[in-house]
């Protein structure tokens, strides 16, 4: 049953991808410019790290490779959000106001799925392959890491992405109550997610706790890197993440149901 349902949703997602790809072909120049912009940003970050290590011999025991890897892993979440979520959830307010959200309600599919994954920003997802992936490979090549731990790091990262996805859904449901939550979203998910560039141990304890348990961006770069470095108890990290997944799911479910009750078809 689950397998059948999964197959159906994968098939649907393939159709969404085909549609998004056709749309993207009409804006090929966007791909070129967004790739250049993302490459420039990545180069800027790498150069900053290089310059930093010309001033200091080590970053509290961390080397160039660690900071490069931290940036690279952090970029995975950034591009996943850009290409899969933002393009859809940012439109939710417009759909709710205009009343076109009704079309989602009428579809015989999961409402979160159709709301959050209908379109894919193909240009941004390609940037993932030309910036995040090379940066991770470069970081790994600079240091002396146990590559077998990469899989464990991937598990930690994936669970982190799921938690943040559920929290995004919970936040998006506020759209049904308030017209514009863009600045709140930017504050909670874009600006706070930027902390994934910073090793958490340099932050004050309160901020570290906030980024681990409230808006847990720590699980999208910092903890995966600790796992790769062999400095985190993987069982504890995964257990904490599982608890957070459950809490985030409950929050998303509750706020979404509440939000939907406030929605009237007229917008």
């Amino acid at each position: 049953m689950v397998l059948k349902s999964l197959k159906r949703y994968l098939k649907l997602y393939a159709i969404f991808f085909k549609f998004s790809f056709a749309l993207f072909l009409n804006y090929r120049f966007d791909l070129f410019m967004s790739s250049i912009a993302n490459l420039t940003w990545t180069a800027g970050q790498l150069i900053s790290v290089k310059f930093m290590f010309e001033t200091i011999p080590s970053f509290a025991g961390w080397g160039v490779s660690d900071l490069v890897l931290l940036l690279g892993i952090g970029q995975v979440y950034v591009y996943l959000t850009f290409s899969l979520l933002d393009v859809n959830l940012d439109r939710l307010a417009e759909q709710v106001i205009s009343g076109t959200f009704d079309f989602n309600l009428l579809k015989p599919v999961n409402l979160w799925f159709i709301t959050a994954f209908r379109q894919i920003a193909v240009a941004q997802s390609l940037s993932f392959f030309i910036t995040a992936v090379p940066m991770i490979i470069y970081g790994l090549s600079l240091g002396n890491y146990n590559l077998e731990r990469l899989w464990l790091a991937l598990v930690v990262l994936s669970l982190g992405v799921v938690i943040l996805f559920l929290l995004r859904i919970a936040l998006s449901s506020l759209t049904f109550v308030f017209d514009d939550i863009t600045s709140l979203k930017n504050m909670l998910f874009n600006e706070l997610a930027d902390f994934n560039r910073v090793p958490l141990f340099v932050l004050p304890r309160a901020l570290e706790a906030l980024l681990t348990f409230v808006i847990p961006v720590a699980f999208i770069a910092y903890y995966p890197l600790l796992v790769i470095r062999g400095e985190a108890a993987i069982i504890v990290v995964v257990l904490v993440e599982l608890v957070l997944v459950l809490l985030a799911y409950a929050l998303a479910k509750l706020s979404w149901s509440y939000g939907l009750k406030q929605y009237s078809g007229a917008g």
Binding site: T55, S183, L207
Partner: protein, 240 residues
């Protein structure tokens, strides 16, 4: 709400930058104070450097709205700037308010070295703003040739912000890079005014900085007028 979230975002950005670079100043209170002031003032200055003017000007060209100004004794560049001034003011307000608060709470770190330093800082800041907007105008004018330049704007914005020291203190750049930057207006648009503010710039450097900025403003002014005329020759009334 907009002001509040913008203030929180500025604070978060500041925290990230300071957390990351503080490690270069550990054990040296002077260096730490310098870093704290650098990023605070840098955020205030850069918040007023937006690419809104370039966007507005491009929009005018592409939509054909520029036609309305061709026969009037008013420059479309001035209109674009006026249209973007509200956005600039909103962006500038929250970091400036936070900075002012910091000046009152921690004067030993955030207050200017003297009234004269503050005055010269404002002169550099104003000239920096003029330079930035002329650069944005140049980018906006490219819309005569390219129907969309949003990507170009993002790339240039990123590159300029990097060299303006948005991601790392310019004084930590390698000496060669700093030396190259001293011939460009970029050094005098953010990093140098901060040095002036903290009273660490010599009179000779200030005069040199002013001359370099003024020369660049002149060059950018001439270039933007020339490019605008060139663009108009290519432009037809239906839009570019």
């Amino acid at each position: 709400m907009e002001f509040f979230s913008s203030a929180v975002m500025v604070f978060l950005r500041y925290s990230i930058l300071v957390s990351l670079w503080r490690i270069t100043a550990i054990g040296n209170p002077d260096a730490e104070r310098r870093l704290l002031l650098y990023f605070a003032l840098n955020l205030v200055i850069l918040s007023s450097y937006t690419s809104k003017l370039a966007g507005n000007f491009s929009k005018m060209i592409v939509s054909g709205e520029i036609n309305n100004y061709l026969l009037r004794p008013i420059s479309p560049a001035v209109v674009s700037f006026a249209n973007s001034i509200t956005k600039i003011a909103i962006r500038f307000l929250s970091p400036a308010a936070i900075f002012l608060l910091a000046v009152f709470i921690w004067p030993e770190t955030f207050a200017p070295a003297s009234f004269m330093s503050l005055l010269v800082f404002f002169i550099f800041f104003t000239l920096g703003l003029a330079t930035w907007n002329l650069l944005m105008l140049l980018i906006g004018i490219t819309a005569f040739w390219t129907s969309t330049n949003a990507g170009l704007r993002t790339v240039i914005d990123l590159v300029l912000n990097f060299f303006l020291g948005a991601f790392m203190p310019v004084y930590l750049f390698p000496a060669t890079v700093q030396s190259i930057l001293s011939y460009t207006p970029l050094k005098y648009m953010a990093a140098f005014p901060i040095e002036v503010y903290r009273g660490a710039a010599s009179n000779r450097d200030m005069v040199l900085g002013l001359v370099i900025l003024l020369v660049w403003i002149g060059l950018l002014w001439v270039a933007s007028r020339w490019l605008y005329k060139l663009g108009l020759q290519k432009y037809d009334a239906n839009g570019a």
